[in-house]
């Protein structure tokens, strides 16, 4: 080993440098590959415009698009208003006020997250329809008719608002709880009452948070397929589905999908901007919140309000599901049901494993090769959560089908292969779509878990003689166990609830619980949709428990 330094070449690159550089580039390339997977559906759907089939486009523009745009406009406006009012008001009374039952409502108001909107939707119709129990009872006992029709624009907006307000509620509650206290005390010391303080200080300060929650809710609204199908309310997702199955027109589906992506991207831009503002909006550490003790009449009002929302959005639908389930359990809990359940578990398990593996890769890449390029790559790679499942189904099916045709061509020429599909009949498209859509869900916990492992932990391990592989096995993976578990659970449950991707890309014979719900509800068989729905709801409660526990646990 040469002991003297060559001081004439002070900036000479280390001999190991080429390897180090290659490894760093490798991490970036891996992350770019993940980001590319997200961009594929965007590029594919937009390129449908390159190959314009005149008739299809004219048909779309003349008969389909105007209705879709009007429907979507009212839907976004109505749901946006609904979730904002419900979410912010409920967040304010649970975060800043004191009334009997507040502790219960604090977490119970998140429970509607466990109910997919399509479940709330068919329960609402089953209950409130002309032939439903409420109207029948009113007619028979009171001779009352003329209740507003639930299968209407108002009905869709109501159901979606009840299903999606928790997005705004959760994030606004955190905003009020963490930043409200000190700023409100400052406002009070400047002579504002606490109610004035709400409108002049707390609400404006929480605006970025509320906007971020609102945008998430609107993305879900634009992505929703199941509810729209139950209500027969035509939006882009249902139109894509129809173009796919009824018209058998991939270009039409792709063109519709590309318009939907544009709408979604507007929401994404607003959401990302709000998140950027959230970083600057935090004020110091929050003092222990002194809640406003509501006077008895106000407390009763708060209790009534929160209680009604919880009842309508969660308790009544779940009760109804349970009642319906009791009716049909004897006949419906058969081998076929267990097959649906098994398929759901299997797909969700495979999907979650893929999500966690890729999330770990992406987060690890960010740690190994930090920098602006990596941050942008990670941001793009985790944008898939905004893409509606119907869009992903189309945008990933087209390239896989093309790849398939190419492979078949090779197979025919070289190996005498005479099938019609190689990849199309597999789970590939579906699993890729799950991966794109739910990568962000898994990336969040994994990345924050990895950030908790400080640089000095790595260096400490290295100075104790630990090489790279050993570092991963003995330090990183054990420290990340809890984060990986959270990521897998969240992805698992989201995939179980997912409807359009599964519906549109499943290979023959791969029916799941969600597919069963769709089939039963599209025939108006509400009672028979209850059993698979209940299973989905039970699974959906798990992440809410994780979500509410996250604030309290200490390490790991």
């Amino acid at each position: 080993m040469p002991a003297t330094a060559d001081s004439t070449l002070p900036t000479q690159a280390p001999p190991g440098g080429a390897f180090v550089c290659a490894a760093r580039r490798g991490w970036l390339l891996a992350a770019l590959a993940v980001a590319a997977l997200v961009l594929v559906p965007v590029v594919v759907t937009f390129s449908a415009f390159l190959d314009i089939e005149g008739e299809v486009l004219v048909h779309l523009a003349e008969f389909v698009l105007p209705d879709l745009l009007v429907n979507t406009f009212w839907l976004v406006l109505g749901v946006g208003l609904g979730v904002s009012v419900l979410g912010v008001s409920l967040a304010w009374i649970t975060a800043m006020c004191e009334f009997p039952g507040r502790r219960l409502f604090d977490w119970a108001l998140l429970l509607p997250l466990a109910l997919p909107a399509y479940v709330t939707a068919f329960v609402a119709i089953g209950l409130l329809d002309f032939t439903g129990p409420l109207q029948t009872w009113l007619r028979e006992n009171w001779n009352l008719t003329g209740l507003p029709e639930i299968r209407s624009r108002g009905g869709v907006i109501l159901v979606m608002s009840l299903a999606l307000y928790p997005y705004v509620y959760l994030i606004a509650k955190n905003a009020f709880a963490t930043q409200g206290a000190i700023a409100l005390e400052a406002a009070q010391s400047l002579g504002l009452s606490r109610w004035q303080g709400f409108f002049r200080v707390a609400l404006p300060m929480a605006r970025p948070w509320i906007a971020a929650g609102l945008m998430l809710a609107l993305m879900e609204t634009l992505a929703d397929f199941g509810t729209m199908a139950v209500f027969n309310y035509d939006t882009f997702t249902t139109a894509i589905y129809k173009a796919w199955y009824s018209l058998f027109s991939l270009p039409a589906a792709a063109q519709l999908a590309s318009i939907l992506i544009l709408l979604v991207l507007v929401a994404v831009v607003f959401e990302q901007r709000s998140r950027a503002q959230m970083r600057y909006g935090t004020i110091g550490r929050s003092a222990a919140t002194r809640r406003i003790r509501l006077t008895p009449p106000l407390a009763a009002l708060a209790l009534l309000y929160a209680g009604t929302v919880l009842a309508v959005a969660f308790v009544i639908p779940v009760t109804q599901l349970a009642l319906w389930t009791r009716e049909v359990i004897a006949t419906d809990l058969d081998a076929r049901y267990w097959e649906f359940a098994w398929h759901s578990l299997l797909l969700a398990g495979m999907g979650a494993a893929g999500v966690v593996a890729v999330a770990l890769l992406l987060a690890y890449a960010g740690r190994q090769r930090p920098g602006p390029a990596m941050i942008w790559t990670q941001r793009v790679a985790t944008l898939g959560y905004a893409f509606p499942g119907a869009v992903l189904a189309v945008g990933l099916f087209i390239p896989v089908a093309a790849l398939d045709n190419w492979l078949i061509g090779i197979g025919e020429n070289w190996f005498g292969f005479d099938g019609t599909e190689i990849l199309k009949g597999t789970l590939l498209v579906m699993l890729l779509a799950y991966l794109v859509r739910f990568l962000a869900v898994g990336f969040g916990p994994v990345d924050s878990g990895l950030h908790r492992i400080t640089r000095s932990i790595d260096e400490g391990a290295r100075s104790l003689g630990t090489g790279t592989g050993e570092l991963l096995a003995r330090v990183h993976l054990p420290m990340l166990r809890a984060s990986l578990f959270t990521a897998a659970t969240l992805a698992f449950v989201d995939i179980m609830k997912e409807m359009p991707i599964t519906l549109m890309t499943r290979p023959f014979g791969w029916d799941t619980l969600a597919v069963r719900v769709f089939e039963m509800t599209s025939e108006g068989e509400w009672t028979r949709a209850a059993l698979p729905s209940l299973a989905i709801v039970v699974a959906g409660i798990i992440p809410i428990i994780l979500l509410t526990r996250r604030g309290t646990h200490t390490h790991g």
Partner: protein, 355 residues
Amino acid sequence: MAELVLDSVSQAYARRQVITDLTFTLAEGAIGCLLGPSGCGKTTALRCIAGFEPIQSGSIRIGGETVSRPGWMLPAEKRRIGMVFQDYALFPHLTVAGNVGFGLRGISRTAREARIGELLDLVGLGGQAQHHPHQLSGGQQQRVALARALAPRPRLILMDEPFSNLDVELRERLSLEVRDILRREATTALIVTHDQHEAFALADWVGVMHEGRIQQWDTPYNLYHEPTNRFVADFVGQGALLPGEVINDHQVEIELGVLDGHIPVDCGTGGCEACVRHCTVDVLLRPDDIIHDDDSLLLAEVENKAFRGADFLYTLRLPSGQRALSLVPSHHDHAIGEKIGIRLAADHVVAFPRS
């Protein structure tokens, strides 16, 4: 254990020079310390020695083996250097025993357990072996970090601001404890700190760093009493600089009288006494160089005072308007504005050329 040698080491991040021409030798078994304000490059120096940063010139040798030179560095995991981090960097998923035993490899189970037990006894945590780091106090975590670094018998221990996360009282007690532990393990150690009390309590040798360079590498006693430049004089200990005039090659006159001793400033006299008379210097006076004496005819006005328990630290305003510090036993309680008698009691001269 091994000798640590840094030979004109330089390091730069993206064209900004962080450390320049760093040279010092830490003898086997000695405890050294890099002392300096934040941003002076001391932590970077430590990270270069640990093998986390490359160097651009010079060389680092441990026990005669070159571990870093421009364009090449021995990986950190092969250096056999123990490191104690500012945030301790304990592994939260392992117990105290698991942490301490982490770097022990290639030895039998019983030898491993014996070594863990030995170290936990050494740092006084024998009863906490099965606890997890988050169940320990800051001081206990600190000691686990030290035991973990010592366990594989490293050639050298590096500590980065080891006590900065602890409260003052614990800091003093623990720094004496750590010194004992390092002595008992006979480990060569290099500590980085911005706290001179810590440095003085722990180290045999201290290097004062400023703007990436070592200003003086010396014993704590010499750093305090014979600083070689203004930065060291100012950074280490308290004191005031008073203008003085060199009378001859062993006397300098200041407002408070004449100081005898070797004049460390080259006035370029060449033996010519007449030339010397016009050489003006700044003379460093520590607070213990000026004592309070009621009988002295030399009076100074108390401008400020700080009660420190056993004594007062008076800021005095001399007749010429110059300020000086004096440490006075606390039963001499004088009001601000009062004139008190003082006397010079310095036994040697520290002076710098007039700037």
